[in-house]
């Protein structure tokens, strides 16, 4: 797995300007992820989990060090190239779902495909397939405001998966969900992980999430303090 690493991070340092000084959020991080991993970043609040996910997703750039995603050095990407990387290869799932409120479930899922030059019929097939994975084919016309939290998060999963990305980055996806919804969501993602061989990386505090992970990376104060494989993860 280490050989065909889909994400490779070497000596990553991330500093944020805070007033006149700087705050170092990531201090010399070295990790790799292989294809098909179901991995999690855990650690106390402020340890740098979100920062690391954002850099992997090329929403933010490293201050120092190298981050190679799908063979591309994210520091060297143009705006356009990193947009294409996100659009085609990386899915995001957030704690607060972040669905577009004025659009229907169908349209929310369809949006990413509108940015690609995909024909209408292809788009429709892809969207319906994604909604089927998360079991929401009945709700295509609903607006996010009419859905429960669990349903919203399933729409967000469909949205991240519809383009069949190699990598899905999920930041606290279960934090706003009750226990049964959390399990449902995680089961859905685990199934997709197995069927499509998509790499999932979570940032989480949630014990329930950890049970599903097959690798747990602990961050503390911007440093990786533990990196454990979980052979006996759920399913």
């Amino acid at each position: 797995m280490e050989n065909d690493a889909i994400i490779k991070i070497e000596n990553l340092i991330k500093r944020f300007p805070v007033g006149k000084t700087e705050f170092t959020a990531l201090k010399n991080v070295n990790i790799s992820f292989g294809t098909g991993e179901f991995a999690g970043l855990v650690g106390p609040s402020g340890s740098g989990k979100t920062t690391l996910l954002n850099i992997i997703g090329s929403l933010d750039s490293p201050s120092e060090g190298e981050v190679i995603v799908l063979g591309k050095n994210v520091s060297l990407l143009t705006h356009k190239q990193s947009a294409v990387l996100r659009n085609r290869h990386i899915g995001f799932i957030f704690q607060t779902y972040n669905l577009l409120p004025v659009y229907s479930v169908y349209e929310n899922v369809e949006f990413a495909l509108l940015l690609q030059n995909m024909s209408g019929s292809e788009r429709k097939k892809a969207v319906m397939a994604a909604l089927e994975w998360v079991g929401l084919t009945e709700k295509v016309k609903s607006r996010p405001s009419m859905l429960s939290g669990g349903e919203c998060q399933r729409v967000a999963i469909a949205r991240s998966m519809v383009k069949r990305p190699e990598i899905v980055l999920a930041d606290e996806p279960t934090a706003n969900l009750d226990s049964s919804n959390s399990h449902n969501i995680l089961q859905t993602m685990k199934n997709l992980n197995r069927e499509l061989n998509t790499t999932f990386i979570f940032a989480t505090h949630d014990e329930k999430v950890m049970k599903y992970l097959n690798r747990i990376i602990s961050l503390e104060d911007g440093k990786v303090v533990k990196d454990l494989l979980m052979p006996d993860s759920k399913n």
């Binding site: 705006h79 990386i90 990413a112």
Partner: protein, 424 residues
């Protein structure tokens, strides 16, 4: 993608409604105000043309210098010949002669003694030639309060106010005292055929309207007239054509060193009407400009507020792989859509009200009372082709400008900053 954005605008009322209302209202006001101003200015000009200036006016050079003193000793002579030439050489215009004079009107009692006397302004026009256009031009049929329009020589119309003040009724005989072209005293007795009220304080206080031939006889102006006026036959002033006629006429008939030679001037050269019309145009331009600036500021702010509310939307679109530049352009597309909707609706409303005000008008005569200026009593709008774009483009420009500025503030923010808005 456009369809997608359009759906978003339609559904997110808070994003579209206020800007659309602002644009609609602004465009509506601009279109209507401009149509209304155009109409009123046009009416004022036309009214002045009819009563005073003509579309072009011919006076002697000397008369023109001191025209407000009505110096009939300097009046045009040889008018018949002049009129013949004008009709032959400038057939696109209608030519009429008028005489202005001043004097006293004497009201006798039953035995012929003076019962009262009042100062009057005398105007002599062609009442009697069959097919004369002057009666309509001076709006006499509509201004008639009592009696009828003169049908034979020796009949005259006087202002109703004068008639009321001195207890004159139609059919009474009055004597006009004035001075001839040569400066000697003269008088002529008229039968009052009717009374007039124009809604203009100067004309209504004391005036007498007589036939031009009566005036020529009474004032020893047999082949003379105070002025000759030219009107375009379609009734619409055309400055370019007027200029051609003016240049041609002056080069042929006007001699610089002869103060009794005739000289022609256009409507816009008289009584500051030209400046007045230019003022009207620049007032319109200034209004449109202020409108663009004010609307841009309002829309900039609504755009900023809308943008703030939409940070999370922009963040998620970034995360989904939309380029920041593209997001910025989509906000411009949206502005164009909103600007189009507002401008179309606003222009339609403005044109609608302008049409209404063109056909119905706003009757100010009761509100304004008697005014000294030559102003119309009914204010009408005028629908011109200009109205179709005078509000439309400013509306569109203001929306795009306002949203562009607002979008730029968002655009300048770093991607990661926008994205951080996603976290709660």
């Amino acid at each position: 993608m456009i369809k997608f954005l359009f759906k978003g605008i339609l559904r997110d009322r808070s994003r579209s409604l206020l800007p659309v209302i602002v644009v609609t209202l602004g465009v509506f006001l601009t279109v209507f105000m401009s149509g209304f101003m155009k109409g009123v200015y046009g009416d004022i000009t036309e009214l002045n043309a009819k009563f005073n200036t003509g579309h072009v006016k011919i006076l002697t050079r000397a008369y023109a210098e001191i025209a407000d003193q009505i110096p009939n000793d300097l009046a045009l002579t040889d008018v018949k010949k002049l009129m013949t030439k004008l009709h032959a050489d400038y057939p696109e215009m209608e030519w009429v002669q008028r005489i202005h004079t001043g004097g006293l009107l004497d009201v006798p009692d039953s035995v012929g003694e003076t019962r009262g006397q009042g100062q009057v302004v005398g105007t002599a026009i062609d009442f009697l030639t069959p097919g004369t256009t002057e009666v309509e031009r001076m709006n006499i049929p509509k201004s008639l309060v009592k009696g009828s329009i003169p049908t034979k020589q020796g009949e005259a119309l006087i202002s109703d106010e004068f008639a009321t003040r001195f207890g004159v009724s139609t059919g009474d005989k009055l004597t006009f005292f004035g001075s001839t072209m040569n400066g000697s005293m003269t008088f002529k007795t008229f039968v009052v055929s009717g009374t007039l009220k124009f809604g203009n304080s100067i004309l209504d206080r004391g005036s007498i309207f007589m036939d031009i031939r009566d005036a020529q006889l009474a004032l020893d102006m047999d082949d003379a007239a105070s002025e000759v006026l030219g009107y375009f036959k379609d009734g619409i002033y055309n400055d370019l054509k007027a200029q051609q006629v003016e240049n041609s006429f002056n080069s042929r008939f006007s001699k610089k060193d002869d103060e009794f030679s005739p000289v022609m001037s256009r409507l816009v050269e008289q009584q500051g009407l030209g400046d007045y019309l230019k003022l009207a145009d620049s007032a319109n331009a200034i209004m449109s400009f202020i409108f663009i600036v004010a609307m841009s500021i309002v829309l900039w702010n609504t755009g900023l507020l809308g943008g703030l509310r939409r940070y999370s939307e922009f963040g998620i679109r970034l995360a989904l792989g939309e380029e920041k530049k593209h997001i910025y352009f989509t906000t411009i597309y949206e502005a164009v859509l909103i600007g189009l909707i507002g401008s179309v609706v606003g222009t339609a409303l403005g044109l609608g009200l302008s049409y209404f005000m063109q056909s119905h008008g706003l009757d100010m005569s009761k509100i304004a009372g008697n005014v000294g200026m030559m102003v119309p009593s009914v204010y009408r709008a005028e629908v011109t082709p200009g109205l179709f774009y005078i509000g439309f483009f400013p509306g569109l420009i203001a929306t795009v400008l306002g949203n562009g500025l607002a979008g730029f503030a968002i655009y300048k923010r770093r991607t990661s900053q926008l994205f951080h808005e996603l976290e709660v």
